[in-house]
């Protein structure tokens, strides 16, 4: 079904894809028909994220020759299908976390424009865990699905290319996304100084006290009005200025400033890379581009290095020092607060025994008493802790040594990942 849009598109792409050039990669074949056939018939792209970035990604992909696109955004899909007859945009439904490996295997490339860090960690770890190794421990190239990730905040953004197993992965750079800092409760309760302290006081402490079971809904104008008024009263009482309705909304909804232009820039960078990855028409971004547009136009393109002890794709052991005297619940809290781990709801197994399980309820109840036990009561030297967390498909921490009261934990090795994925495939 040739449409004007469909035909017209190749006028431009045809030059890049149909002609050899000094900057094309060695693997490039200057054969437009071959690329066209692959783009139209074979290659399928998954787009994760339905916000400002996601919609731009979808448009750019459709206009860059990609034909078979599976996005999350239903409205945007309908819109693109209408604007661009002949493109095959079929939205998927449900959460990405509910889909299995078989689902992800069908894609040539996966491209994300998500605000959510947990969702990006999840898809990243899933793709790393899908790698298949041969007997010598080499990765089967066919099991590698390139993952392009991007994010924006105000005038800033970043775009990156992840080849699972080969480049740094999302988890390797987790420290670039530190967990949100919460105000200490004692500041909110006793010594507020900023308008934000008054707002968080109303939000975290006053709302549950006054409204009991009623859950706060930031989109309910009555709720928001109450929040603003309560914060204002608190501020007045402490002589603090600057509580406004907009600030109240910003704080309780954790609103990230966003503009169309930055989304456009990052989504376009991601799709430019996608096109080069599938066609070899030019070198691919190696592997991280940072964009800062507030002060001039500043970009920094660099190779974000693989973290050897990465929880997801690491190949060497790392040492995590912790006292054996601490309780399991404190250890779990440490895993949550550590910028390199940021695990939110880990379940821990050791030697095929449940040490602490978040679900199902019966297991949670059965293992809860362990939370108050000390680490050196629960583990032995050389033990491996298998950790599952909703954020990651799987991970493990090896407990390698007990040295008096201090214990040293080492993290998962590549062999561990191998046995995981080999077990599954």
């Amino acid at each position: 079904m040739a449409t004007q849009v469909e035909d017209g598109k190749w006028h431009h792409l045809g030059k890049l894809l149909g002609r050899p050039g000094p900057f094309a990669t060695e693997d490039f074949s200057a054969n437009l028909e071959e690329h066209k056939k692959n783009l139209v018939e074979t290659w399928k792209v998954l787009v994760i994220g339905a916000g400002g970035l996601g919609c731009e990604l979808l448009k750019n992909l459709a206009y860059s020759g990609f034909r078979n696109i599976e996005p999350k955004a239903v409205t945007a899909a309908t819109f693109i299908n209408k604007r661009f007859p002949g493109v095959n945009v079929v939205p998927y439904f449900g959460r990405i976390e509910d889909k299995g490996e078989e689902y992800y295997r069908q894609f040539k490339i996966i491209i994300a424009g998500l605000d959510s860090i947990p969702a990006r960690r999840w898809i990243n770890s899933t793709l790393v865990n899908m790698l298949v190794y041969d007997d010598e421990g080499n990765i089967d190239p066919d099991s590698v699905i390139p993952f392009i990730d991007g994010g924006t905040e105000g005038f800033k953004g970043q775009s990156r290319v992840i080849y699972p197993g080969f480049t740094s992965c999302f988890e390797c750079s987790l420290e670039a996304f530190p967990p949100q800092v919460n105000y200490p409760i004692c500041t909110l309760a006793n010594t507020p100084r900023l308008p934000e302290h008054c707002i968080e006081w109303a939000h975290i402490l006053e709302w549950p006290k006054v409204w009991k079971e009623t859950k706060f809904d930031a989109d309910n104008t009555d709720h928001m009005k109450w929040m603003f008024e309560t914060a204002s009263k608190r501020a007045e009482e402490f002589n603090i200025k600057g509580v406004t309705y907009r600030l109240t909304q910003g704080v309780v909804k954790n609103i990230i400033p966003a503009i169309a232009s930055t989304n456009a820039i990052i989504a376009a960078s991601e799709v430019t890379e996608a096109l080069k990855i599938v066609t070899n028409a030019a070198d691919v971004l190696n592997n991280y581009m940072m964009y800062i547009g507030g002060e001039g136009i500043y970009t920094h393109t660099f190779e974000y290095e693989k973290k050897e002890n990465c929880l997801v794709c690491g190949t060497s052991q790392s040492v995590y020092s912790v006292s054996g005297d601490i309780k399991l619940e404190e250890f779990i809290e440490m895993l949550g607060g550590d910028v390199n781990y940021q695990l939110k709801k880990p379940s821990i197994r050791c030697n095929n025994k449940n040490v602490f399980m978040q679900a199902p309820k019966a297991l949670l109840e059965a293992t809860t008493p362990n939370l108050s036990k000390k680490l050196n009561e629960l583990f032995q030297s050389g033990d491996t802790l298998d950790i599952t967390d909703p954020l990651l498909s799987s991970a493990a921490i090896t407990l390698s040594e007990v040295n008096g009261v201090s214990q040293v934990f080492e993290r998962l090795t590549s062999h561990r990942i191998q046995s995981h994925s080999q077990g599954k495939t």
Partner: protein, 550 residues
Amino acid sequence: MASNGTDTARYDRQLRLWGEEGQALLEASHIVLLRTSAVGTETLKNLVLPGIGQFTVIDDQLVDDASFNDFFIPDGSNGKPRAEVTVKLLNELNDRVTGHALVKNPIDIVHNHIDTLSQYSVIIANGLPEETVLRLSSFAWEKNIPLVVVKTNGLIGSLRVVVPEHTVIESKPDNPMDDLRLSVPFPELSEYAANIDLSNMDSTQHSHVPYIVILLQHLNKWKTAHDGALPSTYAEKNAFKDQVIKGAHKPGEENFLEAHKGAYKAYTRYEIKSDVRAILEDPKTSNPTDKFWVLAAALSQFVKKEGKGCLPLMGSLPDMHSSTESYIALQKIYQAKAATDISSISHHVDHILQTRQLSLSISTDDIKKFSKNAAFLRVIRYRSIQDEYNPHTSNSSLIGAELASDADSNIQWYIALRSVDLFQSTHGRLPGHRHADVEEDTANLISLHRKTLEGLGLKDVAADDRYPREMVRYGGSELHAVAALVGGVTSQEIIKLIVHQFAPMNNTWIFNGNKGTTNVYAIVFEQRGTRGSTEIEGASQRVGVSFAQE
């Protein structure tokens, strides 16, 4: 005043960046695009969405097969005027914005009816021949209208911004330094800190003394013991830090930890940054004619007189471990001093307006904003495209130095794009446009590329033929994703130019889609003083990447 009826719910996420004042400027703007294409409509899209007032597309091209890389040209519009087709779809993005299509030849408009362009706030030029761009550039320069010239070709893009002078009050840097004045405390601050007696406090009170008070007291103590000098050597700084932390009642007292961590704020000498100093010394402060320069002149007088070498106090206090009472008390001291400074500047403003008999309306809010942002003021003077194309004023030494340090610098693409322009002027089409001409165009472009290098005064630089070869491969194609990226950057620069916040780049930006890199080059020297002067001030050149530090 500025907020008259903007849609605060729709624009919430952007209002958090440029506020209602910036939004009002956007909504009052009218942007014109001369000759459309995907990069043109992608630029307009990102301006229509945040809500500019109006836009006009001037183009007499009809939609043809090659137009369908543009998202705003729907199927079935072959043969229709491109301007009308795209404006219709762009208009659908935001009902608060009005788009106009003018089906006329933009080249004819520039050469024969250029005065009709004086009504626009920003002019975007895309795909116009060199001589048309030059004519447009001198017109826009004369009328003081920002001109933005945007190009894409294959995986390469470029953006050139020209405006004689762009001033910014709120440049909103990412991590501004706190303005605490610990090394040069004003009397009210010194007095407040001196009157707090830490020795008679219980442990709760002691742990809630703001670290600013702790640092001021220890700095005083240090100065008394060191003939009034601040800690300056590495050893002295460490000794000072030790002195501070020893004041804690117990380890881990948070305010003392903050004082220890922030000790550098006490011994770092106060100074006015060089770019702000340049504004204070700018010849325009001796003869101000507009609002910005009257305020700058008043600021300059303040610094010499009441400020005793310092800028007006910003008046804001970062959060710190403290009791509410102490924090608010300290905040009031900073705010009161800021208010006093503002009122001093206000007097200078009145005096300047009176003696110079200027009828400018400068409100208290204007003065307040200027004072609070005094450390972040920016003045960018661009150079004209005429100067860029003149070998005597173009920045060939920058280009030469850049190539000497990195033969694969993105400046290569600037040269390659210039040679493509030369080809277009000579042959009336883009090199590599037709498959059949690739071989012949390659030979021609290689020779024009050498000519371009010579024209830039770079005879000694060995021409790298890969660049013209690759440009012929691209053949003037406009890849949608590249157009979207370059259009995104272009729209962002235009927003910064309109809202007069943040800082636009100066003056040429290159996107290299081969590697996913971009650079900003001052292709024409930024010179201080009169235009055309051959004297070059090293300090005012912005060479290479717009800012290199991380």
